[in-house]
Symmetry: C2
Subunit: 307 residues, 2 copies
């Protein structure tokens, strides 16, 4: 079982080499991540964008472009559609955002002809390696779906299962989180958490264990679970997937971890798509971008196995 | 300005010695905290409950009861009403929960004759000292108010201001948090955050600075604020009060900090009451209980000044 990004990166080395197509690649932070991904044998890249600008940016970061395919397309929208079509056609195994705004990037992802739709709504998963916590934590959704309904939460879970599987976890423990660990009819998040738990117990959701509502301490801290006497629960501090009630809760916890926990590592992808999509933000560190590429690579391998 | 619990505890030493009344005091964890509070000159205590049981528990933790007033009242409800009436009458400066369930404890707090009502709704504030973050962080509401309305949020702010003031912060910076830092009409939390910001700018809320909606990185990380170019904002990583959109977001962040950040210290009280109320939970550590008593003591001093 993978427990850290080192394990994910060594999993990558067991896969065939993957290729990422980059939409509007003339972005120094993105090219630096792509360069490192190539050097560390995480992935090759096809760079779609304005070739002159790509060469200029690459030169400014001392990046040797000789090992990369470049497709010249100076128009931003056309470049994103070209880049996504490479993933659509199977010429690339994952798709990454470059110097293009999120709205237009997502338009390319959702394009009916050359995009990456699967029929499932998109959701975001962020994988964390937290010092002191034994298992990897898969947080969802902290960035994309705003106020998921119960149906959306089922889809989020289904989108996340290939990601945990790709990281070596065959039957992940899923904690639908809330402020409390008992159902309170006045708190819809607890009712939905209970409903998801029932759906899993009755076989409507498979290949995982669901136990909620759960407070965060019971989900991630075995000592706290023991102290609270939660010995009858299926999850006792060993949750793999943390399912958040809404984007505010998810995003605030995500940022609390990133900005308060020393030595934390993370990587994120968008799922529910034909291939993993890497949608890093300006504020992500270089290592987070490289980790996201590694995560996408193992997920791409898992999706290929399944297809 | 206080920046850590050491500063809060040294502030306590500048105040007249405070007294806490404890409802149903026959609880070992509570007596241990009360014992330490006395030893560290944080507070004296009046122990209300079953005297024989109090003596038995005290003996089991090697606690010398000679310096404590004990009021014998074996009935739980009667004991809580006696203990709260001491605070109501000014014979105690703060009120603490012992071996009584939260529901009945709160009933005593809200009792119309001997309780601690002020006309304001109750809210909870949790003070954090986080390694690497320069200012103390005042998180509200992570435990009491479930889905605060805009009006509730105004009251939460008013309840929290005496707490920041007691810790030496005269004009705290308040960040109404959300997943994003721009108003999105589809996200009510961002609309309310913007409304609170306007109310403060127009003088409807005073003695503080409010800037929201704010994402957590912009609220607590000056580097992130600089990186995102948020130079026109009133808060740039230096927020004092973190105002959460609802209890799920607040509680999950609170527990993420407690269970993931090494070396963190915290203490919490209930506010909106005539005197500070200490409502620690089983899962709080010994140090958190003592910190909560220290926090309550400086807040009690501040409230006395104001009265």
């Amino acid at each position: 079982m993978s427990k850290g990004f080192d394990d994910i990166i060594s999993k990558v080395s067991e896969c065939s080499v993957k290729t990422v197509s980059v939409a509007v690649a003339e972005d120094s932070a993105v090219l630096e991540a792509v360069k490192a991904a190539k050097e560390r044998n995480i992935a090759n890249a096809i760079l779609v964008g304005d070739e002159a600008k790509i060469r200029e940016v690459a030169s400014s970061i001392n990046m040797d472009l000789s090992g990369f395919e470049i497709i010249h397309e100076p128009d931003m929208i056309a470049a994103s559609l070209k880049a996504v079509s490479l993933a659509h056609e199977g010429k690339a195994d994952m798709y990454m955002k470059g110097l293009i705004d999120t709205k237009n990037f997502l338009k390319s992802v959702l394009d009916k002809e050359v995009g990456l739709r699967t029929g499932s709504p998109l959701s975001h998963v962020c994988v964390f390696e937290v010092p002191g916590i034994e298992q990897l934590l898969f947080l969802t959704d902290v960035a994309f779906m705003t106020y998921p309904t119960l149906e959306d939460k089922v889809n989020i879970i289904k989108n996340t299962l290939p990601v945990t599987k790709a990281c070596g976890i065959n039957c992940p423990k899923i904690a639908p989180l809330a402020a409390v660990e008992v159902v309170n009819p006045k708190m819809p998040a607890t009712v939905e958490a209970s409903e998801l738990t029932r759906m899993c117990a009755e076989g409507q959701i498979t290949d995982c264990v669901i136990d909620g509502p759960l407070s965060l301490d019971l989900a991630i801290d075995p000592e706290a679970a023991k102290h609270k006497g939660a010995t009858d629960r299926k999850i006792q501090g060993d949750a793999d997937i943390l399912l958040f009630p809404d984007i505010h809760a998810g995003n605030l916890v995500y940022k609390a971890i990133v900005h308060m926990v020393p030595g934390v590592k993370n990587g994120c992808i968008l799922t529910g798509t034909k291939v993993p999509v890497i949608l890093t933000s300006r504020s992500d560190t270089f290592e987070t971008k490289v980790n996201s590429l590694a995560l996408a690579a193992v997920v791409a391998e898992e999706m290929k196995k399944k297809a």
